[in-house]
């Protein structure tokens, strides 16, 4: 436990020194702000675009607060996942490649605590980034569009975080096995994209799919309650996350 803390502190110090603790949350906050602001000003933007015939009346229904937040989440599901995978693809692979892993593992440290220190710090930073991004979106949504209950926001974000954790853990697992960062990123993104695409297409067969969680999070935001069976994908996702974590801490 003591050694784990030492490794965990090192991970944070590293993320501070390479500014990951700044830019990762910043990316999420910027994307979080963008959605309510563009949706709010969209009519003005279109009006000022200037190439409309004279007398065109622009009528765009202002979306509800829940819809704006739901849009934000789907932004995160594209840009957010990309950024997280790129930020953490080398988390183990880079140290294995450089030989740093050997410098550490020759000290009386277990491979498990070495990997777990990385997993927890990556998870924590991702959680902070995602939360700050959603809070920023929430704040501007309230300001520009209308109020929205915090409890629903927290629930929606929480369910979405489980899905992100699953992808992050899969990235960590790949990073512990593969050498090439490019391949790690490609495979992790592929899983995210395939699951996200296939799940709504094969609705009947994919009730267990971790990507169901994004749908559940969206409906929590737009309708205040999750549609369908959330428990099944939730359980499966947590089990899969645990499985990949278990595989990651096993020394190859």
């Amino acid at each position: 436990m003591n050694k784990w803390l030492v490794l965990f502190r090192k991970e944070w110090l590293e993320m501070v020194r390479n500014y990951k603790v700044i830019w990762l949350p910043l990316v999420f906050v910027v994307f979080g702000l963008l959605q309510p602001i563009t949706l709010y000003y969209l009519p003005d933007i279109l009006k000022n675009a200037g190439n409309m015939p004279e007398g065109t009346v622009i009528k765009i229904a202002t979306p509800s607060s829940g819809e704006v937040l739901c849009e934000t989440l789907s932004q995160f599901n594209q840009m957010g996942i990309l950024v997280i995978v790129l930020a953490f693809m080398g988390i183990v692979a880079a140290e294995r490649r450089s030989g740093m892993m050997k410098m550490i593992l020759v000290k009386p440290v277990t491979y498990t605590s070495y990997i777990l220190s990385k997993w927890v710090s990556a998870l924590l930073l991702t959680f902070v980034s995602l939360s700050l991004g959603m809070l920023a979106a929430w704040y501007y949504t309230i300001l520009l569009i209308g109020s929205f209950p915090f409890v629903d926001l927290a629930q929606g974000t929480g369910i979405y975080f489980i899905w992100i954790s699953f992808l992050l853990t899969f990235t960590l697992f790949l990073s512990s096995r593969l050498k090439s960062s490019g391949l790690i990123a490609a495979l992790a993104l592929l899983l995210g994209i395939v699951l996200s695409l296939v799940t709504p297409l094969l609705e009947k067969w994919m009730k267990w799919s971790p990507a169901q969680l994004t749908g559940a999070a969206s409906s929590l935001l737009t309708e205040g309650a999750a549609q369908g069976n959330v428990l099944l994908p939730l359980t499966i996702t947590i089990l899969l996350t645990a499985l990949f974590l278990y595989l990651a801490v096993r020394e190859p």
Binding site: K3, K10, V106, K107
Partner: protein, 301 residues
């Protein structure tokens, strides 16, 4: 007291047998040199001893036990040490010290002490990213010693250093010798001869020669007597071949190279015969083959 005892250690990678059936022991408080040409299996052996590689076969006993995780008792310097370039020397040493189980404050004071010892006190607050190769090597030694290990394993500690750095390193190893057991690999025979007590030579993953320096000198390094004369010594050489103290005779022009098993006896007998037969010698030299000759013989060149 044996610090480490290794029996039938083997390691194969796919098709390559990097280390093959290696058995040896390290005695407490002694410095052992692991010699071998490139690709002999030195790094592979040291990594297995350090717990970084799992042997394909064989056992490693540390202080008589093969159960316990002995990593806290060893310090290891890899052939190419690497560091976090964003840390400074003190941060790095404290980090390594804490990983070895030291309290932060203890590690910090020990780090200062060590940086002084390896001559890096001036640069200790600078980022490691800006260090030269020699400075990194010194820091590498310091991190290996941070927790005062019982056994220090160094993989080619001097090959990356300039002559001054190499001198410093050898002096430091000599000073450390009394306090800890040292095992280091090198292919520079001169260094081995200067600092170590015991020598192991490996070739193609197999142990070729092992023993203490005096033992090696006694058992493997042969005494030679070189005699030059003003006339051909061919006929005399032929009679010498029959002497029991002389193992081999080489004749080149007017010079004889005699490999002898008992130096004193051979010398007095030869001198007596030279006087008796009035052989017109111009020089009489007593010497011995070197570790380098032995190494070359082992390597088969």
């Amino acid at each position: 007291m044996k610090m480490m005892e290794v029996t039938a250690l083997s390691k194969s990678f796919d098709t390559v047998n990097a280390v093959n059936n290696l058995s040896f022991s390290l005695k407490e408080g002694r410095c052992t040199a692991l010699l071998g040409p490139n690709g002999a299996g030195k790094t592979t052996t040291l990594e297995m001893l350090a717990g970084l590689l799992v042997p394909t076969k064989g056992t490693i006993l540390f202080m008589g036990s093969n159960q316990a995780d002995y990593r806290e008792h060893i310090g290891y310097l890899p052939q190419q040490p690497v560091f976090f370039s964003w840390m400074n020397a003190v941060e790095y040493l404290v980090f390594m010290g804490e990983l070895s189980g030291m309290a932060k404050a203890t590690a910090a004071s020990r780090a200062d002490e060590l940086l002084e010892l390896v001559g890096m006190a001036d640069a200790k607050k600078r980022r490691i990213g800006g260090y030269s190769g020699g400075m990194k090597q010194r820091l590498g030694i310091a991190q290996a010693m941070i927790h005062e290990p019982k056994l220090l394993i160094l993989d080619e500690p001097v090959s990356a250093l300039d002559p001054v750095g190499r001198r410093d390193m050898l002096e430091m190893m000599k000073r450390l010798k009394g306090h800890m057991t040292i095992l280091f690999s090198t292919h520079i025979l001169h260094d081995a001869e200067e600092v170590c007590d015991d020598v192991m030579m490996i070739h193609k993953g197999e142990l070729a020669v092992a023993g203490s320096l005096p033992e090696l000198r006694r058992n493997y390094l042969e005494n030679i007597i070189i005699i030059s004369a003003e006339e051909s010594l061919d006929t005399w050489a032929r009679t010498l071949e029959r002497w029991t103290v002389i193992t081999e005779v080489r004749v080149r022009n007017n010079t004889l190279e005699l490999f002898v098993s008992d130096l004193d006896k051979a010398r007095s007998q030869l001198l007596a015969e030279i006087t008796e037969k009035k052989i017109p010698i111009s020089s009489f030299t007593v010497g011995s083959t070197t570790l380098e000759d032995l190494f070359m013989k082992v390597v088969g060149k």
